[in-house]
């Protein structure tokens, strides 16, 4: 056998050896990957929390985001926190940042039958209406001095009787100025 042929043969063997190493590596990777996939599948199908994480938390929320990409912040907040959020959003959208608002007495807000569960928390309404000034009627130092505030938050018809001008009492939940225009 000539030297040239011998070199060619050894090169071929080298390539073959290289190829077999690559095949071995690919095979090992695929086997390992299959084992990993099996472990993940077993965890996913047997552990309720993992199932919820993937389907509910990740896939479910990405689906919601894809379906409703353009919802406003207010609508999203209302989706999570209604009816309270709808009520404060109405007040926010109808008052300026510098406004001051009197809310009904806290016990009226706690003991309501309409499902409001946040409005009686001062910290919660302060956050949602900030920088507006908000106070509960029962916590005012002087309940006769309502005119130092700009608005009264009408809740379950409470509030109409607190102003000196005539009102039509048309809305159960509303916002009225403390002074006649």
């Amino acid at each position: 056998m000539s030297k040239k042929n011998r070199t060619k043969k050894s090169e071929k063997e080298k390539v073959k050896k290289q190829e077999s190493i690559v095949y071995k590596l690919v095979l090992r990777n695929l086997i390992s990957l299959a084992v990993l996939a099996l472990v993940i599948y077993l965890l996913y199908s047997n552990v309720p929390g993992y199932n919820w994480l993937w389907n509910g938390l990740i896939k479910g929320n990405l689906e919601t985001i894809r379906t409703y990409p353009d919802l406003t912040r207010d609508i999203k907040f209302e989706y999570k926190e209604n009816p309270d959020a709808g009520y404060v959003n109405f007040i926010k959208n109808n008052t300026s940042d510098t406004s001051s608002i009197v809310f009904p007495p806290r016990n009226l807000l706690i003991n309501n039958e309409k499902g409001f569960k946040r409005l009686h928390t001062k910290a919660w309404i302060t956050y949602t209406l900030y920088p507006r000034r908000v106070e509960y009627y029962n916590e005012l130092p002087d309940t006769n001095d309502l005119e130092s505030f700009d608005f009264i938050a009408v809740f379950n018809y409470w509030g109409y009787d607190k102003v000196s001008y005539p009102t039509n009492r048309a809305n159960e939940y509303y916002l009225i100025p403390t002074k006649a225009k």
């Binding site: 390992s32 990957l33 552990v47 929390g49 985001i65 999570k80 919660w124």
Partner: protein, 462 residues
């Protein structure tokens, strides 16, 4: 403006990381920088409030830039050299044989879950009650009024009704939210995503210092698939950020113990300091880590390190209580006694506590299978434990768990039922253990041996 602030805070954090040691890997430095840079700024929010200077995005930027300059004055040559070294990095020399499909798949799944939870976080406005009536509210008001002592406190220093103790938590979380608001963002929830993403990066590179890259990927993967914890990456609550700092701090303590590498002791002190800068009750974790540090420092007679560690992990706690004393700040529920202040023995209370804790922790809905896998890992390592292998790591996990649970035994449940407190507070606070449990699962002696063999097998080294 927000992007500029983040870049500057990143550089500030990077300067601090370099001050601890220049030998951290690039991945570690990248992960740690914002996790440290942002809390430093929230600390300055308190300092500025104390001296009566209005906190704004610009004042914080100026302070950060001045600090960056001061911290790097002596580093100019090193920075120049590092940049020229970075230019010489030849990407074609990366050996792709060292990487494999299992590692890549774990990272891809982790990345997808991170993307999903972050998208959720940024899509929904703040609605979690504790944040609306707490951290986010405080952040919003700090940003608008430029002070931690603001209109949320009345003339006698009492916090706004309905905020419980949330307004008077150390202002790391509220301050982070304030930074977002001050920079013109409509909502501050991106700060949670930043903490979460940089935590995962840090956890990976920190774990890689002790484990293989597959092991590090498993630790991150096990952490992120923990349902209750990951769900909090889309809420603007305080428990996940605390878990970030406790988890990283504890793993760093273990790295110091196992490798006697001093930079990890200082790094852990920084993370644990930020832990008590996030929640004061995190002092429980600092106490247990402090016991381990005390033991090893006395053994090695490195008392200076003990002093540095102790000072760092206590400083934010003392500083915040000092600030509250100066302004006479009080919680909205000031007359509520949270803890029983003397030691007592009540077997019925203990039994009831254990029952509630067991109910929460054994639920696979909240923590998936991580606790079961952890106990499995302990069981198969009983012989190694008997041989005193990795005992300090187990001590850090189990003793802090015990101390933390006894803290709940010490609570005076006259203001709420034990079941409620365990179902909400304990359940969330337990996040702090998740990174440690994941770390032990992949880093115990048997797992480490198996992972080393696996790495050789899958990369063709065996």
């Amino acid at each position: 403006m927000f992007t500029i602030s983040l870049i500057v805070f990143f550089l500030l954090g990077l300067s601090v990381v370099n001050l601890i040691s220049k030998d951290f890997s690039i991945g570690e430095k990248f992960g740690y920088s914002l996790l440290i840079g942002i809390p430093i700024n929230t600390f300055f929010i308190m300092v500025l409030s104390l001296v009566g200077v209005k906190v704004t995005a610009v004042t914080l930027l100026i302070i950060s830039i001045v600090l960056i300059i001061l911290l790097n004055i002596k580093n100019v040559n090193w920075i120049t050299e590092s940049i020229s070294d970075a230019k010489k990095i030849n990407l074609s020399k990366i050996n792709f044989k060292n990487y494999h499909l299992v590692w890549l798949s774990l990272l891809l799944i982790t990345a997808y879950i991170t993307y999903g939870i972050s998208a959720k976080n940024l899509y929904w406005p703040t609605f979690a009650f504790d944040s609306v009536a707490g951290y986010d509210l405080m952040g919003k008001v700090i940003a608008a009024e430029g002070s931690v002592f603001n209109s949320l406190f009345n003339e006698s220093g009492k916090a706004v009704a309905g905020s419980a103790h949330r307004i008077i938590y150390p202002p790391n979380m509220a301050g982070s939210f304030a930074i977002a608001y001050m920079n013109g963002l409509e909502l501050p929830k991106i700060m949670i995503t930043i903490f979460f993403v940089f935590f995962l990066i840090s956890l990976y590179f920190l774990s890689k210092k002790y484990n293989t890259k597959t092991g590090a990927a498993i630790i991150v993967f096990l952490t992120i698939i923990t349902p209750e914890m990951t769900s909090h990456a889309a809420l603007s609550l305080i428990n996940l950020p605390q878990a970030v700092f406790v988890g990283l701090g504890y793993i760093a303590v273990w790295l110091w113990i196992s490798n006697n590498d001093r930079k990890y002791l200082i790094l852990s002190a920084v993370f644990l300091a930020i832990n008590v800068w996030t929640r004061s009750d995190g002092i429980v974790f600092n106490f247990v880590a402090g016991l381990a540090v005390l033991y090893f420092c006395v053994k090695q007679k490195t008392y200076k390190d003990l002093v540095i560690f102790s000072s760092l992990v206590l400083f934010p706690f003392v500083a915040w209580y000092g600030f509250m004393a100066v302004y006479n700040i009080k919680a909205a529920v000031e007359n509520q006694q949270l803890l029983v202040t003397h030691l007592f023995w009540d077997p019925e209370k203990l039994r009831s506590l254990w029952g509630s804790v067991k109910f929460v922790l054994s639920s696979m809905n909240y923590y998936g299978a991580i606790l079961y896998i952890f106990f499995g890992a302990v069981a198969i390592n009983l012989y190694n434990i008997y041989k005193k292998e990795q005992l300090p790591l187990l001590f850090l996990i189990t003793f802090s768990w015990l101390t933390f649970t006894l803290f709940y035994y010490q609570i005076d449940y006259s203001w709420d039922s034990m079941q409620n407190v365990i179902s909400y507070s304990y359940k969330r606070a337990f996040f702090c253990f998740v990174p440690m449990l994941a770390f032990y699962i992949a880093s115990n002696k048997i797992s480490l041996n198996l992972l080393n063999k696996f790495e050789d097998f899958v990369t063709g080294k065996s």
